[in-house]
Every structure is written in C-alpha cells, then in structure tokens.
C-alpha cells in the first residue's frame, strides 16, 4: 500500500476554522427560548442533608428547580459502580457534591438564586487525606474505604527480601493535578418524555454520555442522542464528568420543557470536576552484587475521592506500569484505590502511570546511588529485553533496544560531559545545575481484555458526491484525530485527503468506536478504520466498478454508481483482538497491552539557591512510537505533554481546605506560560507494531509519564536534595535544602 499521506506533516484539517474564530464550541451556540442552568453544591465534605430552604426575597416561582425526587429513571451515574448519584438524596459524600439544580432565563438572577438557597447540612467526620483513608480512622465508603485492591505477583519477593543484606527503601508522593482545558465543561440539552433527550456539548466519549442518559431517564437507546461539539481541550477531564453535566442539563430541560444551557465558570470547573489522583508509592528493592534487580516490592495507593468512578482502572494502569521498563525476576505490586470526601478524581493523561513512574524513576536513582553506580549505568544493566517478561508476565515480543535509545539520548544532550562540568561548577556557583534521566514505557489501548469487551466499530460510507465519509464516535479534542483518520483512510483507499469527510461524533449517525481515551485513537480505532476502508474498496472491486489500480476520480465515480444501483454504500469493521494477547483480570497476569511505546527523557535544570526558583533549561524527549503517522501532530503531542508535565512537577499545586480546592482560579493555580518552558527537543524512533495502522503505537499519554522524575532527578543532581514529592514548589525546595544541610 503506497502511503502518500501517512508520514507527512499534514496540517490539521479544521485549522482554518480554528484560526479564524469560526469553530463553534458549545457556548457559541444559542437556542431560542433557552434557559441557563446552575448547580447548587454542598459546602460540606461529608454530612446529612437536614433541610433545603428557599428563603423569601427570590422569585422562586420563576425558577425551574430540580432535586433527586424529580429523576425519572435511575439516580446513579453509569460507571463501574452505581455509587455516584446525579443529585444527592439525603447524604453528602464530598465537598462540591451536586444537591439541586436551578434554571432561569436571566443568568444574573440565576447566580443570585444559587447563593440564596439555604442548605442545612449536619456535618459528619470526613476523611480528607490518602493517609487517613488508608489508616481507616473513619470509614466513609464500603466497609474499609477501599474502592479496589489488587496484587500483581511474579516469582518470590519475600524469599529474596528475607535473605537480603541490603534493602533500599523509598516513599514517594504526587499531588492532585487539574486538567485546565481552556474551554470549561458545557452542555446544551433538549428533553421531554415524548421525544426523548438530545444533548450537545464538550466531551470525549459520546457513548458514555448516551448510556448515562438512557439510565437516568429510563429511555431506550433510540430516544437518546448525544452530539459532540468542537471541544476546547480535555486530557481526560471530559471522559466521565460530561455524563454528570449532561444529566443535569437534561433534567432541567425535562422539567422546564425548554432547552437548557449549562456552562461552568472556571472556578466551579476547577473545584467540582475531576482531577488527577493523588498518590503514595512505597518501594523496597534488592539488587545483587552486579547491580541487577533481584526483587521489587511496591505498594501503590491512590486517592479516588468520594465515589468510585474510574479509580479501579487508574489503579490498574498505575500498578501495571509501577515496575517500569526493567527486568526483575521477583516483583510484587500491591495496589489500592481508596475513598476520601473530596470531589471524585478521574482521568488525566497518563491515568495512574505518571504517578507510579514518578516513584519508580526517583527510586531507581536512589538504588543506583546506594550500590555505587551512576543512574545511567544502573538502568542500562536492568533494561528489559526481547523475550523477557514484565511484572505481569507479559513476554516482550518486539525487538526493544532501550540501550540504543539511551545511548542516543545521552549523546544528543551531551549528558556525560555536562554531568562532569556541572559537578565542578556547582562547587562555587550560586545557581546550581543538574542533569536527570527517566526511562519508561506506556501501554496504549485498554488493558488486557478491555478492547475485546469494547468491541469498537467504525463505519465508512460513500456520500452523494462520491466522497468517503468516516463514521466513528472518536472525538477531535485538538490532538488531531480528524486529520489522522483522513490520512489513514486516504492511504487505505489510495485517494486524495480532500475526498474524505470525517463526520461529527453524533450518536444518531456514528457507531460506538469506544471512548477517546487510553491513547487508543490511532493505534486501535485507526486500525479498524483501515479495515473498514479496505472492505469498502473490495466491495467496489468485486462489483466490477473499480479495477485494482484507480484514480481518485474513478473512485468517486464508482461510489456514485454503486449508490445509484444499491441505494447505499457502507462498510463496517469491528475490533479484532490479536490472538497473542492473553490476560487474566483476576490475577492481573499476562499481556496487559498489545504493545508499549518506549522512552528516555533527559532534563537539564538550574536551581537558584537565592530565590529557590527552578528552571528547566533544556529537555530532550526521545521515544520509539512504532510509526510516526504525522510528525507535525506527533511533535505537538509530545511538546504539549512535556509542558503539562513541567506544570505537574514544578507549578501545579492543588491546595485543599476541608475537602475543597481553595485555589480554584487561574490566578493561583499556576500552569506554565510561554515564559516557563525550555526548548523541548523531540526525537522519534520507529519500530512498527504489527497490529497498528502502518505500524503506529499510541502516544498521547506517553510524555506525562517521564517528565516529573527526569526533572526531580536533575534537581537532586544539582543540589543534593532528595525530594520525593511533587509539585516541587520553591517552598518545598527550601525545606528540602534545610533538611539536606542539617
């Protein structure tokens, strides 16, 4: 198959709309006669709702008021567990929990009314930290606060630990992180018992919202329609939360009989919606006399907030990645996701792996130092090789060459020379410099049998003009999905990209291709798309309308002719799991992912010991990603991801008070600006994955896994301060320096 589009720097197709202000996001649309909607939330982290009051002074009769009592179907948000209500009934399980909804045509009056509602909530003792949840000082969920617990075991860890002369221990912490997509969450809903429910909004997963609405309203599938609008960033923050917001908007629309628009302001979005799970990882490691890993005993715990939502899956991914790209014959990973009375945490690019890999890569530096090896040499001796097995017992099938990647990364950054130079300069300099390395992998697609269960479908059909329309529930979020699908379809069919249309993700027209998450869009769904295109092409060839070789014009003519003869030309393809993937979910054993992308990241930092400012001066992101489908978009993913990672490491600090995020404003939750970023050098290597389209692997989340440890390793190299939590704000550095100098 000739590839004319794949591998090229194809600019994004919807770029013209975005640069001219013509791309329409949900808040850019108005429906005539629409009401605005707002949510009244609990100020208390945990409690019993005694009374809701509507004091005089507000014209309540003008408002549509919705409480849990108004819910026609099931008051629980469709997810792994049914513990999260759309609206609280009589208890509050977390701060900011939605209690009731208000709608009114006047936005200003609506806001006044929101503040006027009086809530009488009896406080109950709340659990507000990961540590206190693990300690079960108070049980606030289930019988022991544990949403999910798992154990990954390989070999005999205790056997080694009990006989080990030296065990290197470490404990590592990561804080919450707010996705801070520039466009806040928003939905427009139209709903009535006769016609059903339609919502338009900002989201990653139309079919997740579809299922949630079916259950909320007890409606059959054809009475619910979900349409994704242009979405201004998501990063996981619009994976499960939109189901809640869609439900709320639809409930107000159902009761009022009018269209309802709900768009969160920034403060509400930051305080009430999902964030990255905070984590604590404990490591105990044994190495032999040659510096080879003998045993890894890892305890990984994440804070899931007030309801289960996606926490078991975040736990799973974080746990599977916890032992990293190394070979070790004895591994035990104990994972727990626990409840606290804070807004439920959720998906954020990396999904558990950034947390566990921060811990691992910090710890590998510590182990190296303890056994007298350089961080680089220690890793080099322990990289996993083809034929060896991971923590879950997955045998590496491909010819992975981490040593080769490492060698190239060290050369590109002049690593060895700089380490020696900085060591010398730091003796006298006020601004210390250091280099830090992180080595990691990221498995794309749903874990284990997840993709098989999703059984995603993609359809392609001929339009009236003989063009090809792609029908998939995958959403363009800025990552370039529409462009990548165009490239894949164009090359699968040998036609021009101009003859391809990618349909809007509207459940009325597109099949369920699964959610836009897990770095699966290109590697998994792109492959299904390729199959659907080939199927359509074969149909035309078998009907004598196309020869084996043809022009774009001939293709268009053949499509038109077929449609004229048969009424419609449409092909479907469904996910086929590669036969080599074997996974036991109970034991968390086997092939966790079809394949992994592999990476080496190197950070160069300056630390000013007068001001405690940390600057990343240079950053190298080197990764093997199967096949580079579009260098322009791929670089965009890596650079964007690295900068989010810099924020995670140095700037983004969620400050909690009584279970609420109190710095819920862009003023005081700091994300990197254009002045906070180093030059980020991106290098790709290719090693085609046999089951990805043109050999591609997933890359969207990969960068988040390796930034934090590379930077914090560099900070330790520069200053000697062993910092084991992020974010490393100047205050954290100051404290660490004082402890180091004691």
């Amino acid at each position: 198959m000739r590839t004319k589009h794949i591998g090229e720097r194809v600019p994004r197709r919807e770029g013209g709309l975005k640069v001219s202000g013509r791309a329409r996001y949900v808040d850019d649309w108005t429906l005539t006669g629409a009401l605005y909607g707002v949510t009244v939330r609990s100020p208390v982290a945990r409690g019993i709702i005694r009374q809701i009051g509507y004091p005089a002074g507000t014209p309540w009769e003008q408002f549509t008021i919705v409480t849990a009592a108004d819910i026609p179907g099931s008051n629980s948000v469709a997810n792994l567990e049914k513990d999260q209500p759309f609206l609280a009934v009589d208890r509050v399980q977390h701060a900011e929990q939605a209690i009731l909804l208000l709608a009114h045509p006047n936005k200003s009056l609506l806001e006044k009314a929101r503040r006027a509602v009086s809530l009488d909530i009896e406080h109950l003792p709340a659990v507000l930290s990961l540590e206190s949840s693990l300690a079960q000082e108070q049980v606030v969920w289930g019988h022991n606060n544990v949403f999910k617990e798992l154990k990954i075991e390989k070999g005999n860890v205790d056997g080694v630990l009990n006989n080990a002369p030296v065990i290197v221990e470490g404990e590592y912490w990561t804080g919450a992180q707010e996705q801070l997509y520039l466009e806040t969450n928003g939905m427009i809903a139209v709903a009535n018992p006769k016609e059903g429910v339609t919502v338009w909004g900002s989201m990653q997963c139309p079919y997740f919202v579809h299922k949630a609405l079916m259950e909320l309203f007890s409606l059959p599938m054809e009475k619910v329609r979900v349409v994704q609008m242009e979405t201004g960033g998501a990063f996981g923050g619009k994976e499960d939360y939109p189901s809640v917001l869609a439900g709320h908007a639809a409930l107000l629309a159902w009761k009022s009989g009018k269209p309802v628009k709900m768009v969160y302001d920034r403060g509400e979005d930051m305080a009430a919606t999902t964030k990255r799970h905070p984590s604590r990882t404990q490591h105990r490691t044994v190495v032999d006399r040659n510096g080879k890993l003998l045993a890894m005993d890892i305890d990984f715990a994440i804070d899931g907030g007030g309801h289960m939502t996606l926490s078991p899956i975040v736990l799973s991914r974080g746990s599977i990645h916890a032992a990293g790209p190394y070979y070790c014959p004895n591994i035990r990973i104990h994972g727990r996701a626990v409840a606290t009375n804070t807004p439920p945490h959720g998906a954020f690019r990396g999904f558990g792996a950034p947390q566990s890999l921060f811990a691992l890569e910090r710890h590998m530096d510590k182990v190296a130092r303890t056994v007298g090896l350089s961080p680089v040499e220690f890793r080099r001796r322990n990289f996993i090789r083809q034929g060896e097995s991971t923590a879950t017992g997955q045998r590496i099938r491909e010819s992975i060459q981490m040593e080769k990647l490492l060698h190239r990364a060290l050369k590109e950054t002049n690593y060895e020379k700089k380490v020696r130079l900085f060591a010398k300069q730091n003796l006298k300099a006020k601004v210390k410099k250091g280099m830090g390395v992180s080595c990691f992998f990221h498995g794309a697609g749903f874990t284990g049998s997840g993709e098989k269960r999703l059984a995603s479908v993609v359809a392609v059909e001929a339009t009236e003009q003989g063009k090809l329309r792609v029908l998939a529930s995958i959403t363009e979020l800025g990552q370039g999905a529409v462009t990548i699908f165009t490239q894949i379809a164009a090359d699968a069919l040998g036609i021009s990209g101009q003859d391809i249309e990618v349909a809007q993700a509207d459940t009325a027209f597109v099949p369920d291709s699964g959610p836009t998450v897990a770095s699966r869009t290109c590697m998994i769904v792109g492959k299904i798309l390729e199959s659907a295109c080939i199927e359509l092409k074969q149909t035309l060839i078998q009907n004598g309308l196309l020869k084996e070789r043809y022009t774009s014009n001939a293709f268009r003519a053949a499509c038109k002719k077929y449609v004229k003869q048969h009424g419609q030309l449409k092909s479907f393809a469904q996910y086929q799991q590669p036969s080599h993937i074997q996974w036991d979910d109970e034991k968390h054993e086997g092939d966790a992912y079809g394949t992994m992308a592999w990476a080496i990241y190197i950070a160069e930092v300056s630390v000013d010991l007068s001001t405690y400012e940390i600057r990343v001066d240079d950053f190298l992101a080197l990764q093997e990603i199967g096949k580079v489908m579009n260098p322009l978009l791929a670089e965009g993913q890596i650079i964007g991801g690295v900068v989010q990672g810099i924020g995670y490491t140095l700037h983004e600090n969620v400050i909690w008070n009584k279970g609420r995020m109190v710095n819920n404003r862009i003023t005081d939750y700091i994300i990197p600006t254009s002045m906070d970023v180093p030059p980020v050098r991106v290098i790709f290597e290719e090693n085609p994955y046999e089951f990805g389209p043109s050999g591609a692997k997933g890359i969207g989340e990969l960068p988040l896994d390796g930034v934090a440890p590379a930077i914090v390793n560099a900070i330790e190299s520069a200053t000697g301060a062993a910092i084991n939590r992020i974010p490393v704000t100047p205050e954290v550095l100051l404290e660490a320096m004082e402890n180091t100098n004691e």
Binding site: P11, R12, E14, G15, G16, L17, K18, V19, S20, G21, R22, A23, R24, Y25, D27, D28, Q179, L180, Y181, L182, E183, T184, E230, T231, G232, G233, A234, F235, D265, R266, L477, G478, Q479, G480, L632, L633, E635, G636, I639, G640, G641, V642, V643, Q644, R665, I666, T667, I671, P672, T673, S674, M675, V677, P679, V680
Partner: protein, 151 residues
Amino acid sequence: MEIRFRVNRKLRRVCVHPLTRLLDILRLELGLTGTKEGCGEGECGACAVLMDGELVNSCLIPAVQLHGRSIETIEGLSKRGRLHPIQQSFIQRGGTQCGFCTSGMIMASVALLMGKKHPSSAQIGEHLAGNLCRCTGYSPIVDSVRKVGKK
C-alpha cells in the same frame, strides 16, 4: 446606556448596562463568538482583542469604557475570506490544536508584530506570556509567529 463604537471597522450601536463586559457585548449582542471566555478574570488571554490598537482582555473592559473606541477581533483579521499570514502560519506549523486559546493568541501575536517587525523567539515568548495554552506547549506557536516575522 447606549454605546457607539467600531468593531472590525464597522460602526456598531448597542444598548447595555454600563458594566456589561466587552466580551459579552461581542459574543451575545453582536454574535461574534470567535472571542472566548477561559477564566473571566483576565488571566488566560482567551478573550484578548485589540482596543484602539492595544491588546486588552475583553473580560475586563466594561461597556462604559467603549464609547468611540475601535475594537478588532479575530473575525476582522481575514480580509475578503483570505487568511492573514499569521493565521496561515498557525495552521502550517501546528500553532493551534484544540483552538480555544487561538483567537486570543493570534490577536496577541498581531499586536506584537504591529510594534516589532522581526521579534526573536525570546521576545515572542515574553509578549505571549499573558495567553495560556494547555495543548501545544507554546513552541509551535512561537515558531508560527517568528516565521511570519521573518518574511
């Protein structure tokens, strides 16, 4: 109160409360939805427009300050359907991903290039520090602006 002011070289007249934000006048009164709200507090730059040639956050400009002024928004940038060189550059060099910061980012870039013909990467980075982007990591945006300056 009634205000008369120019938007994209056209004379407009609106009747609004004196504290109505310019952002809401543009989006709701005039239907110019290209300018976006990202934070409502002048921190993110998604709402940036030019007021008498100066870059401002429209979420911080009350109606009472608008009388007789000249506002330029993203919609006014392309002339007769042809994209401005900055817009072309953003498309070619990956300066836009989700697109939500893009209107403000482009207006900020226009403001810079009006005052400085060939800015360096460092100067561009400093000038754009009031415009947040969560997707691109900024360097593709800086490249897009620098390449336009080079012409």
